[in-house]
């Protein structure tokens, strides 16, 4: 058991550090350091452009998507090297937010199912951030129950014709491509009639409508498909095998979300360290210390759990369902942390304007974004099901629609 870099790792770290030092957009470092879940603003700059420029620079020098093979725009690095990079990239890593879905989910799915020529064509610009990808899975009829989706794909000659609607699609408004799960056979049970594609988001018939979120921001969208044409060559996996293909995506999603999600603890600790309450510094208050300690051991527990996962990965083990723990714990923790930070501010905690609120309204922004964190990529309840069923081996939920042809499943809450 050790945390020391091997000579090889140490060399990699030195090289990474030097390159970041010489190339990172330093002018934004302070703002990025201060930003938190729900609030990343760069004054006088378009964050999308800054992020894309940084990603491109990394790609050109061989620092993008480190763990991907070189021929697809990566570096063929080890999982440990990837972690070392993240440690060294520090606050600049926050610029990768809009690439997470593409790099974490769409890329791996393409790698597993696209043809060689397609991989060489689509993956490098995805790695370099020149092209952004989105994940078109959820629908009004199927979120947790992804396989309940209704968007149809019908074969016409060498093409598929898509009609239907997706929802909650993060980044669809600035995405160039997407992976799309559709129903190709409604006459068989729901999991058996799905097929996966990737498509150009600029295709005729694709319409993206931003949704205003509870947080007030608009990061996700509704996406409508009207007679959208996708060539059969853009199918991922076999016809009607889309469910298995999507499992690859979702497993990778859990891994990438679980590893990266913030807990809010460092922010809270820093805040309590400087906050004065009526009878002295907050950090000297007994109840504050108790709360802080509880959050501290959750945050460190998560950190070391992911280090254990990385150690296992580096020995050749595959990421398993136990990685659901990261998102499950961090999701509700960030929400609690935000609420507690506001509680400590008393009546003024209600104010969220950067000028009036403590630490520029960081916790207020976190509070308003947090509910989404507990839903996106699988709700807390779904994460618990995964742990209970796939880690602990408990029986699956009773699924009354499992063997029923999709077109005979009731669609309303009451039947």
């Amino acid at each position: 058991m050790n945390f020391d870099d091997t000579p090889q790792e140490a060399a990699f770290r030195t090289e990474a550090k030097a390159w970041i030092q010489a190339n990172a957009p330093k002018q934004y470092e302070e703002e990025l350091r201060k930003s938190s879940l729900g609030r990343t603003v760069l004054k006088g700059a378009n964050i999308l452009e800054v992020a894309k420029a940084w990603q491109k620079k990394k790609a050109d020098a061989g620092w993008a998507c480190l763990h991907w093979p070189k021929e697809y725009g990566g570096r063929g690095a080890s999982p440990i090297e990837r972690v070392i990079w993240q440690q060294e990239e520090g606050p600049f890593g926050k610029l990768s937010g809009m690439f997470i879905i593409g790099h974490g989910m769409c890329g791996p799915t393409m790698m597993a199912y696209a043809g060689e020529e397609q991989k060489r064509k689509y993956l490098p610009p995805l790695a370099s951030g020149e092209k952004i990808w989105c994940q078109l899975f959820s629908e009004p009829a199927g979120g947790s129950d992804v396989a309940g989706l209704r968007t149809r794909a019908e074969k016409k000659g060498d093409d598929w014709i898509i009609n239907g609607q997706k929802i909650w699609t993060s980044g669809a408004h600035y995405s160039d491509y997407g992976i799309l799960l559709t129903r190709t056979d409604p006459n068989v049970p729901k999991h058996k009639g799905l097929t996966m594609f990737f498509l150009d988001m600029k295709s005729p018939g694709v319409e993206v409508r931003p949704i205003k979120q509870a947080s007030g921001q608009s990061d996700f969208n509704e996406v409508y498909f009207t007679d959208v044409k996708i060539p059969d060559s853009q199918r991922l996996g076999a016809v009607n095998d889309g469910w298995n293909v999507s499992l690859t995506t979702l497993m990778n999603e859990r891994m990438s979300i679980g590893a990266g999600v913030s807990t809010g603890f460092p922010e809270l600790f820093e805040f309590c360290n400087s906050l004065m309450l009526e009878d002295g510094p907050a950090i000297e208050d007994r109840s504050v210390r108790s709360r802080l300690a509880n959050y501290a051991v959750k945050a460190s527990g998560l950190r070391y759990t992911s280090m254990r996962a990385i150690s296992a990965l580096s020995k050749g083990e595959r990421p398993g369902p136990e990685n659901s723990i990261g998102k499950l714990v961090a999701g509700s923790m960030v929400q609690e942390v935000a609420m507690y930070a506001l509680d400590l501010q008393g009546a003024a905690g209600v104010l969220s304007g950067p000028e009036d609120a403590e630490v520029a309204g960081k916790f207020q922004a976190m509070l308003l974004r947090a509910p989404g964190t507990r839903v996106e990529g699988g709700t807390d309840e779904i994460m618990r099901n995964i742990i209970a069923e796939r880690v602990l081996g408990l029986p699956g939920d009773i699924r009354v629609d499992k063997d029923v042809p999709f077109n005979q499943i009731p669609t309303k809450g009451r039947t």
Binding site: V297, R303, T305, M307, R384, A388, L392
Partner: protein, 375 residues
């Protein structure tokens, strides 16, 4: 980086588990629980023969000289088996104090006896209610003798020797405290067993009347040594707690698969599934914090104080959480004497208090994090 135990260490864990499954079934734990014996002597002997008691004791002092990572994997198995032996007091507290501060002669005298199972040791720190604090220590040392009362002392009624924290000054500073080594079989000590929430680990009151004592470590250094001993013991005990958490989770899972209600295994009800998932989560977070503690302990890293407090808090929470919900999963059965659930519930709540309570360690953690932050 390699954040895992080595294959050899895992083999040692397997060996310990196999040994304990055989020699320490719940039936054996119950012998002690029911008051038929103060501890399991046979098991204690067996542990010595396996080399587990001296695993972290250097070879020159009769141990195996393996190290603390090895001790951690054994501690986990001791917790998993709920072993009714004075392992934590002897190995984590007494032996660690000797290793840290003992003279060569003291080490030569006691460590081989610990390794061979001939001597049981303990730490006599508390004097009534409260958490570790120099102020709370009233027991007086003067002229090489001790006078005063210690309670609760873990395994105090069966111990052969004790490391005793005593007051040697009156400046009001930490340096008023010194440590002493006392042969409990010599005169001047009265040991009275006390009843506790976990009879599988005895507690006692020790009354010292002109009891002969030799200093352990330099005079006035007692508190600083104690703090280090408690940190080391916190990591080791946390591994026991993680072992216990895992076992409680496993028992709950097995029962949930077995018990049928409303025509289904109760493990198919989401309320039960999610309770078990949450038990898994707390046990996993604790295990990861413990691994970090193990690393800090085995390398004597400057991170040890913080890592120890985090491991201790996390493992205390996990064991309490898993053992109480294990009973809930078992329903009425879980509340019977016949089922083993309560043994883990007892042990969880007793270990939560033995090195200072949860709130004490919370306080310690934040202090230590602050210091690091300021540095």
């Amino acid at each position: 980086m390699n954040f895992d135990f080595s294959d050899e260490q895992k083999q040692m864990r397997d060996a310990a588990r196999k040994f304990l499954t055989e020699k320490c079934p719940p039936k054996a734990v119950r012998e002690v629980l029911d008051g038929k014996a103060p501890y399991d002597k046979e098991l204690w002997k067996g542990l010595a023969e396996m080399g587990f008691l001296g695993v972290a004791i250097p070879e020159q002092f009769g141990g195996a000289g393996a190290g603390h990572l090895e001790l951690c994997v054994i501690a986990e198995e001791m917790g998993r088996a709920n072993a009714p032996v004075p392992f934590s007091s002897t190995v984590y507290l007494a032996a660690e104090a000797l290793l840290l501060a003992g003279s060569d002669a003291q080490k030569q005298k006691w460590l081989p006896k610990i390794a061979s199972g001939e001597a049981i040791g303990t730490l006599a720190l508390f004097e009534g209610k409260g958490n570790p604090s120099p102020k709370a220590i009233k027991l007086q040392a003067s002229g090489g003798t001790l006078n005063g009362v210690k309670k609760p002392v873990p395994d105090g009624a069966i111990a052969d020797f004790a490391i005793v924290a005593a007051r040697t000054g009156s400046t009001g500073r930490d340096s008023d405290i010194s440590l002493f080594l006392v042969d409990l079989k010599a005169g001047g000590i009265e040991a009275k067993p006390l009843t506790s929430i976990d009879p599988t680990r005895g507690q006692a009151e020790l009354t010292f009347t002109k009891a002969k004592a030799e200093p352990l470590g330099a005079a006035g250094e007692g508190w600083s040594i104690l703090t280090q001993v408690l940190d080391r013991a916190a990591v080791l005990l946390a591994f026991e707690q993680v072992g216990g958490s895992d076992r409680a989770l496993e028992m709950g899972r097995d029962y949930a698969l077995d018990r049928i209600a409303f025509g289904r295994p109760i493990g198919s009800f989401q309320a039960v599934k999610h309770m078990l998932a949450d038990m898994y989560v707390s046990a996993t977070l604790a295990r990861s914090n413990c691994y970090y503690g193990a690393w800090a302990l085995s390398t004597n890293a400057s991170e040890l104080p913080e890592a120890a407090a985090a491991a201790r808090i996390s493992a205390t929470q996990a064991f309490q959480h898993c053992s109480k919900n294990n009973i809930q999963v078992h329903g009425g059965m879980g509340f019977t004497w016949e089922f083993d659930c309560h043994m883990y519930y007892r042990r969880a709540n007793a270990t939560a208090l033995t090195l200072g309570s949860l709130s004490y360690w919370e306080d310690q953690l934040i202090d230590r994090m602050r210091k690091k932050n300021a540095a």
